[in-house]
């Protein structure tokens, strides 16, 4: 199977429209925002259902506790803001009010990672996947494109309990058919020499590099790991067994993200060489979004080099 890379679309718009549809289906559903409803697109819900929309202003921690209070009365609540405020500013409120209480709150956080761009390092959270996947009971989804965003917005509603969906500010090329399922990795490309496990904005880069490698005879499997928690352990270990080397791509700190998850899971169960491409142990900075990915170690060249390094380690090339 070879995935096609479709035109770039807004994940945030996909979320906004999906939330609107959910609001039509579920009259108890409430949506919340913290003064960023234009950017997160919850404004679409707010305009249609003003009575069930609470834009509480600049108070992210309390947005989470209010959301939990609403959810504990039997409602599904969607709460949105930028990732740095949802996972960062509000962390202990997410932890206690939402997760410890097992409240049915779906946090859909936009502006994750470096692709925030010009706003700079204060706003570019690259620690949120680690923070959120460390919370007991939290579902964590990192969509790579608009169709997965739409599917994930619906899927987290179906699953009782807290969820964190991390979206990217930039439009991203469509790489899936939207058949996302919680707990399942999507094999976007089959291959036997090497597996690239990728999330979010880097899934398209994974596919591009896999295509280039194919031209020189290297067969690369690509797994879209959108469901970070729960994650598809069988698919991961199958990839380890069948391809013998794993390259992980994430627009997130390599210390605590998907690379760390993949490395620890394989080393406990089926050790194979793992390379992590992501943000090193530094804060980001202002700049053109895609230029930042190159600057902070996620260029296609770097990804290619790491792939060759893994192939050499496995003795598949000289």
């Amino acid at each position: 199977m070879t995935a096609v890379i479709g035109k770039a679309q807004s994940l945030r718009d996909a979320y906004g429209h999906a939330l609107l549809e959910l609001g039509e289906k579920d009259p108890l559903l409430v949506a919340m925002d913290a003064d960023l409803s234009g950017s997160t697109r919850t404004i679409l819900f707010g305009q249609k259902f003003p009575d069930r929309f609470f834009d509480v202003g600049v108070m992210e921690p309390t947005m989470m506790s209010i959301a939990a209070g609403l959810a504990l009365q039997g409602r599904t609540v969607y709460a949105s803001t930028f990732a740095v405020f949802a996972a960062g500013q509000a962390y202990n409120f997410v932890r206690q009010s939402i997760c410890y209480n097992r409240a049915n709150v779906k946090i859909v956080a936009t502006h994750g990672g470096l692709l925030v761009g010009a706003d700079g390092g204060t706003h570019q959270i690259v620690e949120d996947i680690g923070l959120m996947r460390g919370l007991p009971g939290m579902t964590v989804i990192v969509p790579a494109d608009a169709p997965t965003t739409r599917a994930a917005t619906f899927a987290v509603a179906e699953r009782d309990g807290p969820a964190y969906v991390r979206l990217t500010r930039e439009n991203l090329p469509t790489v899936t058919d939207g058949s996302f399922q919680i707990g399942k990795a999507a094999e976007l490309r089959s291959g036997s020499d090497l597996t690239i496990v990728a999330v979010g904005a880097l899934v398209a880069r994974a596919l591009e590099v896999a295509e280039e490698l194919a031209k020189v005879g290297v067969s690369t499997r690509v797994l879209d790991f959108a469901s970070v928690k729960p994650f598809d352990e069988p698919a991961l270990l199958r990839a380890a067994r069948e391809t013998g080397a794993l390259l992980v791509l994430e627009e997130h700190s390599v210390l605590t993200g998907v690379g760390a998850l993949v490395a620890s899971t394989t080393s406990e169960n089926y050790p194979v060489p793992v390379r992590r491409v992501g943000v090193p142990d530094v804060f980001g900075e202002s700049g053109e979004p895609w230029a930042l990915l190159d600057r902070f170690g996620m260029s296609k060249e770097r990804i290619r080099n790491e792939a060759w390094e893994l192939l050499r380690l496995r003795g598949k090339v000289q």
Binding site: D33, D35, L36, S37, G38, S39, I43, D55, V56, G57, V58, M59, P61, T62, V84, F85, G88, Q89, G117, A118, D119, G120, G121, T122, H123, E285, S286, G287, E288, A291, L292, R295
Partner: protein, 283 residues
């Protein structure tokens, strides 16, 4: 600052503020991002501080006794960068690098890149706490420096803002001045329609601040309030400055839509023309 009559001083501050506003437009236009509305509302307050009130010296940025300014609403960085450039802390040409890769002029003020910035901010609600810490340090050391923090009114919805303000009042930090840019607007609309903060002066008073309400675009009132703060020895002062978001650019004034939206080419040209006309009108 050279000695000047109050009228001369005010004329000079007004003309500096107009230059700063033009730089705000140029910077946000060139970057095609950034926050023009809250930069233009705060320009006169920043101008009064950087060009008159603060004891600071571009030749000695690490002077221990310099006054400290913390821009708690760090997204208004263009106004502060432009003021610091005009005051000699950085080359004016550097303003063109705002928000570009590798620039010292980050989207939100960053002390690790630009040393004349006292505290990095951007996520709201934290600058005022750092200002309290600085004011406590001055007291512990017996140092003469004073600390000024500039807050947004949307920022006053954030709990940490009030925690920090409570600490400033509790410790009776008479060397601390909290200045509120009360422009009435945040990202999504007006503060009072989203999450009302009124009666805001009463809140500051209840938190033990000597509270002064002024027109934040009237330099004689701004200077008067700052002087009053200096004379206040019982505890901290809060200056509630009523301002207009987008001040000085007709189509941005009072419009929340220009909170985080840069001008396009035609808008930038019109804005610069309006601001230039403003300077001719008052020679």
């Amino acid at each position: 600052m050279p000695e000047s009559t109050p009228a001369e001083l005010i004329r000079s501050l007004e003309s500096t503020a107009r230059e700063i506003r033009q730089e705000v437009i140029r910077m946000t236009y060139a970057a095609q991002s950034g926050h023009p509305g809250g930069s233009l509302s705060v320009t006169d307050l920043v101008t009064a501080l950087v060009f008159h009130e603060l004891k600071i010296d571009p030749a000695r940025i690490d002077w221990p006794d310099r006054d400290r300014l913390v821009l708690s609403k760090g997204h208004a960085s263009p106004a502060l960068y432009a003021a610091l450039a005009l005051r000699g802390f950085l080359p004016r040409e550097e303003l063109a690098s705002f928000r570009q890769l590798g620039s010292r002029l980050q989207g939100h003020v960053d002390r690790t890149k630009l040393p004349c910035i006292e505290a990095s901010t951007g996520c709201l609600g934290q600058g005022i706490g750092m200002a309290v810490g600085m004011a406590l340090d001055a007291r512990l050391r017996g140092a003469p420096y004073r600390t000024y923090a500039i807050l947004g009114d949307g920022e006053c919805q954030a709990g940490p803002t009030w925690e920090a303000l409570m600490a400033g009042g509790h410790y009776r930090l008479s060397n601390l001045v909290a200045i509120l840019d009360r422009n009435g607007l945040e990202t999504d609309g007006s503060t009072e329609s989203i999450m009302g903060i009124e009666p805001i002066a009463e809140k500051f008073r209840a938190f033990r601040y000597h509270t002064v309400e002024i027109d934040g675009h009237d330099f004689s009132q701004i200077l008067g309030a700052l002087a009053e703060a200096r004379r206040t020895t019982e505890g901290p002062t809060a200056i509630i400055a009523r301002t207009v978001k987008g001040k000085g650019v007709s189509f941005m004034e009072g419009k929340y839509q220009y909170h985080g939206k840069p001008p396009n080419k035609a808008e930038a040209e019109q804005a610069l023309a309006e601001l230039a006309r403003g300077s001719e009108a008052r020679p």
